[in-house]
Amino acid sequence: MTQQTILLVEDNVDDVELARHGFKHMGVDCHIEVASDGELALDYLHGETSDKPALVLLDINLPGMSGFEVLKRVRENETTRRIPVIILSSSDEASDITRGYNLGANSYLCKSVELFEFRKILENLGLYWLETNISAPH
């Protein structure tokens, strides 16, 4: 099976590194593609490459276009409409969570302070979305 790609939309390099570290421990073979802002993420998603990522991890707190806006565009675009998008946020405010789901997110994760917890989440995430779940064909 070809290596699956996860698109990580995150602007902070430290957070990216921590996420990569988390994925490493996940035990699932995948390629992590990083986009540091909304524009770049959309370019990648809506670009010519027919390979769409199996999963998008989306930070809300982005420079320029907000994560919610990105989510909205992704859901509007026919080619990317069905890609699973998981929101990664430091906020646990009910309003943000509701907004995320309303805009079509598949899941909402809170970036907790405790790294081990975060790793556990990512592990479960990977196991589910990459191993167990069968993505829709694009």
């Binding site: 902070n12 430290d14 957070d15 921590l18 570290h21 707190n61 430091s90 906020s91 405010e93 970036k111 907790s112 302070v113 405790e114 790294l115 081990f116 975060f118």
Partner: protein, 526 residues
């Protein structure tokens, strides 16, 4: 306007004479006038006296007349008896008849009879002149004696009868005349008295009544005087009139005073009304200002809340990263660290944990300040029991005796009240760490007519003299290693309690324990 007592004398009568006459006419027909009663009494008394006098007079006359007749009879006796005796002895019937007629001719004598003594004679002589009657008479039986030598022999009896009819007649006429004349006299006198009384008293009384019944003290009082000659100005009526006049003047003065007081009062009331209106105006302005300020405050609060929120979130991210990298460091390079290195790592752990907790508390504090209260009926007991359960789950090893009052219903925001209880109970839980017989009590009691809720523990307590800043954020009483705690908790609790219109205070003794009291809605729900 107060009139001087000796105001100009105005002897004008306050009513016309025709009115007076009308009144006197009505007076005459009234049934209870004084004159009427006077008349009746006088008549009665006069009649009684008259009757007595007349009776006495008549009786005297009667006695006199009787005695006249008695005298007459005595005279007859003394004058006729001798000759009668001689005539009878001689049996001279003509003489006897003559004498009898002579006697009968005397005034008032109506019957004379002579009877011969019938002892020795078979047919006694009986001579009569006139006719007897049985009533209204005075009669005498006179014995006729013949004296011969020493012997006195009764020859017969003379019966003589005088009629009292004429006497009675005369007396009756006299009585009638007297009564009639007395009657006329009494009537005339009474009439006179009536008229005099009217002239002297009653008409003046009526004019007084008339005048004073129409007195209106709102207008200037006019002196009242009776219509009569000045000479009769010292009697009871003038006393009454001057008393009334005085009274009216006094009343007028009083009335004027009252009037002026009234005017003052009205001015007062007007002033008070003006003041009230002013106060209302100010009040309205104040209320408006208050509502502006409240709106401003709310807006400021919201801004602050938003600010706190974004700051907290922004602060969290770096903390998370520090923690994350430290973990990786620990994991992957721990073997390369010596004891010092591991110690430093541990210190980093503690620092970041503290930072993280503080941010969480801060976030909670700002939420409690800004969030809108959604008031409902909440049972503090249920909340407290839930908190206790969660604490026990996290810290199952400890043995703590927790007593929670059965039911404590209050009005408030459930989420925020839970924060209060979490803070207070967690504090109590922490501060009784070192006790083997740790006890925590949650309840309520009535102090000074208000309900006061409390969370009590028998833990380490604290020094009350240092308690000034108990509810200020970031103050702590024990060294950090002894007890966890960010120091924000109580500030949050105070904020929440105060938003529920209550107060919170504490009472503690070092090494004995602490009680945290709080009230809700002290001045009623807003």
């Amino acid at each position: 306007m107060i009139l001087p007592p000796d105001s100009p004398f105005q002897p004008k009568p306050s009513n016309s004479t025709s009115q007076l006459r009308a009144h006197s006419a009505s007076w005459l027909s009234s049934r209870r006038g004084i004159a009427q009663r006077l008349l009746v009494l006088i008549l009665f008394f006069s009649s009684v006296i008259t009757l007595i006098a007349t009776a006495v007079q008549l009786y005297i006359d009667y006695s006199q007349e009787i005695s006249v007749i008695e005298h007459r009879l005595d005279d007859i006796e003394s004058s006729y008896m001798g000759s009668l005796s001689a005539s009878l002895w001689n049996m001279d019937i003509d003489q006897l008849t003559l004498q009898m007629l002579g006697m009968k001719g005397l005034p008032d004598i109506q019957a004379v009879e002579i009877y011969e003594n019938n002892e020795l004679i078979e047919t006694p002589l009986q001579l009569t002149a006139g006719s007897r009657r049985d009533e209204a008479i005075i009669s005498r039986h006179l014995p006729i004696f013949r004296t011969a030598g020493n012997e006195k022999r009764q020859l017969g009896t003379l019966y003589i009868e005088a009629s009292l009819e004429k006497v009675y007649q005369r007396l009756t006429n006299k009585a009638l005349v007297i009564l009639f004349s007395q009657g006329i006299k009494t009537f005339l006198v009474s009439l006179f008295i009536l008229l005099v009384f009217y002239w002297l008293v009653t008409r003046h009384l009526m004019s007084i009544a008339q005048f004073f019944s129409t007195v209106d003290l709102r207008h200037r009082y006019k002196y009242f005087a009776l219509q009569r000659s000045a000479q009769s100005n010292d009697d009871e009526l003038s006393t009454v009139v001057s008393a009334f006049n005085d009274m009216c003047f006094k009343l007028q003065d009083t009335y004027s005073e009252l009037q002026s007081v009234n005017v003052e009062l009205e001015k007062d009331i007007e002033a008070r009304h003006r003041a009230e209106r002013k106060v209302k105006q100010l009040n309205d302005k104040l209320e408006q200002r208050v509502s502006w300020r409240t709106a401003e405050l709310e807006a400021a609060n919201k801004e602050l809340a938003a600010f706190c929120y974004s700051v907290s979130h922004d602060l969290r991210a770096p903390v998370r990263r520090i923690q994350g990298f430290k973990r990786i460091l620990e994991e992957e390079y721990a073997s390369q660290f010596d004891a010092s290195g591991r110690h430093y790592l541990a210190r980093i752990e503690v620092g970041t944990k503290e930072m993280s907790d503080m941010i969480d508390s801060f976030l909670r504090l700002s939420r409690s300040t800004s969030a809108e209260l959604s008031i409902e009926t909440v049972d503090l007991s249920l909340l407290a029991k839930g908190v206790e359960r969660r604490i026990r789950e996290k810290d199952a090893d400890r043995i703590v005796n927790v007593e929670i009052k059965d039911t404590m219903p209050v009005e408030g925001d459930k989420r925020l009240l839970e924060v209060v209880l979490v803070n207070l109970i967690e504090n109590a839980w922490k501060y009784t760490q070192r006790r083997t017989n740790a006890e925590i009590k949650v309840g309520s009691s009535q102090i000074n007519n208000e309900t006061v809720y409390y969370v009590e523990d028998n833990g380490a307590g604290f020094d009350m003299t240092l308690a000034v800043n108990l509810f200020t954020p970031f103050q702590r009483f024990h060294k950090a290693e002894e007890f966890d705690g960010t120091g924000i908790g109580l500030a949050t609790v105070q904020r929440i309690v105060s938003r529920h219109g209550g107060r919170i205070w504490a009472d503690a003794t070092v090494d004995r324990g602490a009680i945290f009291y709080f009230t809700l809605w002290e001045r009623g729900r807003v």
